[in-house]
Amino acid sequence: MKEYTAIKELPYYEELDFYKKQKRIVLQNCGLIDPEKIDDYIEKKGYQAAAKAITQMKSKEIIEEVKKSGLRGRGGGGFPTGLKWQFAKDAEGEKKYIVCNADEGDPGAFMDRSLLEGDPHKLLEGMMIAAYAIDADEGYIYVRAEYPLAIRRLKKAISQAEELGLLGENIFGTEFNFKIHIKEGAGAFVCGEETALMASIEGKRGTPTSRPPYPAQSGLWGKPTNINNVETYANIPFIIDNGAEEFNKFGTENSSGTKVFALTGKIKNTGLVEVPMGLSLRDIIYDIGGGITDDKGFKAVQTGGPSGGCIPAEQLDLKIDYDSLKEIGAMMGSGGMVVMDEDTCMVDVARFFLTFTQSESCGKCTPCRLGTKRMLEILERITEGEGKKGDIEKLEQLGKVIKEASLCGLGQTAPNPVLTTIKYFRDEYEAHINDKKCPAGQCDALKGSYVIDEDHCIGCGQCKTVCPADAITGKKQKAHTIDPEACISCGACAEVCPVNAISN
């Protein structure tokens, strides 16, 4: 192979497997422009949609266009954005607010962060258009404090936009005024829920309130408020600039446009991808993602973060959009996609997610506060080898009640990972409970003792040195053995063995 080549030998981005099936609307500028330079954004037709909307369109026309585009909330719920704007527009009140939810808290999700870091002006432009459409003059962006770089770039973007008069008073020579503030979150997952988020902006404990009233009627400080997620706003400039029809060319009938997914876990090409709705999981995981690392078998993909579900191999050809995911018990969520291979224990995964939601439950309503706790206790018991007959049924029953009776989205979706793993991987639960075995070999308490393959052992003695239980005996250069009674199944010996002769 030659070390050097001419430029014409190189593929274009669009020709790489990773990009071939992508369609970049939201991420159009990410990784290409300098996010700290407003001129870079303007050169790429930035703020043109805002100018068009504010100087040439009535607010009614904008809302109609957004409705026609079929854009649905990208934060997870999938509520039609145009309708949401209509409610806020129709609400009576002198003062209205625009809020952007950038409290991206789902483990395994980082699309909002990448967008804020890579193209902050796109969000500002989307918010401007929304503000003009619903007659708001003030906006808040609620960002996680764990994203210091995103916060820095947003602040810079806002001051640059103010300098050019794109934010402030009499924008584009009209009567429209708009300013944007940044609020840093203080570390509470539940603040991703819109009513909790607004309580947090007001400086209170971030607990959700029951709806109605919806934020569109009574939101921030009791004023009509429109709240959308980062990716939702970032779609707006494209829709206004190119028209709803152009936007509708991508996606499925009830889920138009694209969706950004964060592809992580046991997958070759981890990264951020934007694809038209309706692509299959197989397209995303194998064609774009390059398949599973170390060529292991695919077991499941977890979508929608801790509120989503685990999707098994049988569903790999599912065309993903809001409705198809919901049908199989998962959800779009914010777009995290964590790929799991054959070595992943699904009971442990369910326990992992529930540990998260349980500790993030704000404690306001009982089904979520106590229900998730009881479910977690059962799951912990099962992974520790203490599972009992009837545990699976109890989990299903608890899950159903929590889903129906909880106050906000956190509780209403918390049982999803447990319910979907039971639905698709019931045999794994049964193996843990009935046979006291973890088929994936992940649950420490259910691991059998380790055994040395005498034919392969070279007698180096490294295992003997690391064994914390002194369970290994054997002479140098001779095959060693492990005393099953003394072995605590920690796996330290298997890790150091230079010839991989130890297994359990």
Binding site: L27, T55, S114, G165
Partner: protein, 122 residues
């Protein structure tokens, strides 16, 4: 911004300025991916290495930053844009690779195959 046309004018100004700059000073540009993922993979060290090479060779180049293009697996990423040539992305580079890539690409206009990922259609 007082009107739509003012924005358009400003937009044209930027494009013109860019075109003229390219004609006048013909500066190569080195662009480093500085999103959180890039930084976590060592982008700051790469930028320092670039600055060192530029100083050492007394090069007249622009060093700029960009956000995340999505290929986390290939971070850290570094792009080089030579006047009259398409922008090229290099990935999975280490500090010690920077000098060789710049030497070959900027001076000889040769692409270092080992790290090159793709070119960008402009």
């Amino acid at each position: 911004m007082k009107s739509f046309s003012e924005l358009k004018e400003y937009q044209n100004e930027i494009s013109e300025k860019k075109k003229n700059n390219q004609k006048i000073d013909d500066k190569p540009e080195i662009i480093i991916g500085m999103g959180t993922c890039g930084i976590a993979a060592g982008a700051k060290k790469i930028r320092n290495a670039v600055v060192d090479v530029v100083k050492e060779k007394n090069l007249d180049v622009k060093i700029t930053e960009t956000g995340c293009i999505g290929m986390c697996e290939k971070e850290p990423l570094m792009d080089i844009k030579m006047p009259g040539m398409e922008r090229v992305t290099y990935g999975e580079i280490e500090e010690s690779d920077v000098k060789r890539i710049i030497n070959k690409h900027v001076f000889e206009k040769k692409i270092v195959k080992e790290f090159a990922i793709a070119r960008i259609l402009e």
